[in-house]
Amino acid sequence: MSTSMKGMKPTTQDNAIQGPLGWGLLVIAAVVLLASLGYALSQLISSGHTSFNTNSALPWGQPIATYLYFALASSGLGLIASLPLVFGFKQFYPVAKRCIFLAFIVLISGMSVLALELGNVFRMLWAIPLNLQVQSAMFWMGVFYSLDLLFLLWKFSKLQGGEWDSKTAKQVGIASFIGVLLASGNLALIFGMMSMRPFWFDALLPIYFYFTGVTSGVAALVFFTYLAHGFNRQRMNPALQSLMTGAMPKLFAALIGGTLLFITVRAITGLYSNNPEINLVWTDYLFASPLYNAALVLGLLLPFVVMLSASLRNRVDVQLLVSCLVFLGLFAERFYFVVGGQVVPLFKGTWMPNLISYSPSATEWALTLIGWSLCFVLYLLGEKFLNLGDMPRQIAEKTPAAGDPAAGDLAAGDPATGAQASTA
């Protein structure tokens, strides 16, 4: 690869995806993508959105939750990338390029799901820019996520060209960081400004979205970074090993804890409130659902407890398990957030004697699968052809010093990789 030859330490030979494993996974992901896309398109063409289980009383279902999940995971990844690229946290350089790439493809996957959810997707391309409804948060969602996508692509092209520290690269990095903040913050306000939907109405929702977005971003990053190295930390560059046994798991633990804190205070406020449009959502929908409780306990609480232990949180298998659990736990969180805002009928009446029930149809599940499989396909292609493990030469070639706290963590947490790091 020309970029790695030019000025970077060649890291590609350690990449497991570039071998037969990558092709195998690519074939599986592509088959899932084609099957789910084929099924969803056949349903949408033959029966339109009647193949969804949403209705006029509950218009936003799992496809919207999926989009929300991907859009926020993308923003989270963008924010992690800004740690080294904007704020100078050098230990995160080894994942910066993969972060930017993942942020881009995760957003593409989310937007693809949204495109299949909309009633008239192509009309959007001219109707939104030509009508300039600046009062609508959804108008700004289009503006900010388009900018976000553009800056991510631009930033990635800079990194792909080996430009880590040029003035333009820095400026694009800052623009990308601001784009991410605006996009995900505004996405939160799409829900948070709806005073007629009290379960969502919350001025601090952008903070909650940033937090949970970064948490899902880290979950994706940890999983995909290990996948790239065949789930074997010894194949990683020492700088990356040092990150994955030092700052990354600590950050991950703190983020899961913060997410739990947010959910807890939202739950306490909701349970305390007399307003049935908030209270009933918690008592009769969320906490009444075994799946929600399972997602909360297994998807967030258990990972947090496990990650509190210094010896456990540095193990590869534990990190992988936690990232998968958090990934799924936060997916459930998004689903219950979107649906929870709509389950209480707007009016008491015989038409709606109980909470509105909703469970996704096969077509809606197919849309979710499209998002996941498209994300995998794009990721595997990127890992194969774009040298995502690239990092600045001085980081790649730096040997962790004896007094380096990260190196200490490394030695304590994983003797095998510690030995590797010390000899590197």
Partner: protein, 253 residues
């Protein structure tokens, strides 16, 4: 310029649902796509239990949250047309944000599972871009105002029967179905109302009967705390809709 308003007297309304039926016939709506419906509910318990009902058209709000959220201006408030809120079916992208933002639940996305079988959309399949094409249709189709039968993938709603109201003589204070000169211009739900619980007129005209009724009989607006300021007013007891309670916990303390 007129500002069309509706007054619904709940002390006269019998809950017969002639309005809902007339609306569906006039506007060729699908089962479940009730631009105008009547909510029935009970409140309290013996000996003070009440049976209540509430007719519910689009409130054509003065400050409509659905209009604010629409990213394409497909939903708009047409001051030239008496302040009626329309959906331009040529611009609607089907994002359904307006349905989220409407506090009254009076917007419909008909590309959904049929309420009853057989699916009438399959009985009268589309032949010209409409969602379905029944043999009788309102001849005054106007997709820019969401009048007629919608194409797939858009949101629909009550238009105050603008295709009728727009023919009313300019400057008229009230469209009263008992006035032979204007009865053809009266919205279908108002014209059909047997107990004459509905009134339709110009809220900007101090002489209008709707203004007098609101003033004399203490007209109130539904969910006024939302700030949407409906152009539909309710008279009599019953506009205070109780908070939602699940049916199985109706009698809980």
């Amino acid at each position: 310029m007129a500002k069309w308003g509706m007054v619904i007297d709940l002390d006269k309304c019998t809950g017969c649902q002639a309005c809902s039926t007339a609306c569906a016939m006039e506007n060729n709506t699908l089962p479940g796509e009730s631009w105008q419906d009547v909510l029935f509910y009970n409140a309290g318990e013996y000996p003070s239990g009440q049976m209540k009902w509430l007719p519910r058209p689009c409130m054509q709000c003065e400050n409509p949250s659905c209009v604010h959220v629409c990213p394409t201006r497909a939903t708009y408030k047409d001051e030239e047309a008496g302040g009626i809120v329309f959906v331009d079916w040529n611009k609607c992208i089907g994002c359904k944000y307006c349905m989220i933002a409407c506090p009254y639940g009076v917007r419909f996305y008909s590309d959904e599972k049929p309420l009853i079988e057989p699916d009438i959309r399959e009985t009268f399949p589309s032949d010209n871009g409409q969602l379905w094409s029944p043999p009788y249709q309102n001849p005054e189709e106007d997709w820019r105002r969401g009048i007629g039968i919608q194409p797939p993938g858009v949101v629909s709603k009550c238009t105050f029967c603008y295709h009728k109201v727009k023919h009313a003589p300019e400057g008229i204070a009230d469209l009263d179905e008992d006035n032979p000169a204007v009865k053809e211009y009266v919205p279908a739900c108002v014209r059909t109302c047997a107990p004459k619980a509905r009134y339709f007129g110009d809220l900007n005209n101090p002489e209008s009967q709707v203004n007098q009724l609101i003033g004399d009989k203490h007209g109130v607006r539904l969910k006024d705390h939302t700030g949407n300021k409906p152009q539909v007013y309710y008279l009599g007891a019953g506009a205070g809709v109780p908070a939602f309670t699940p049916a199985d916990r109706e009698n809980d303390a």
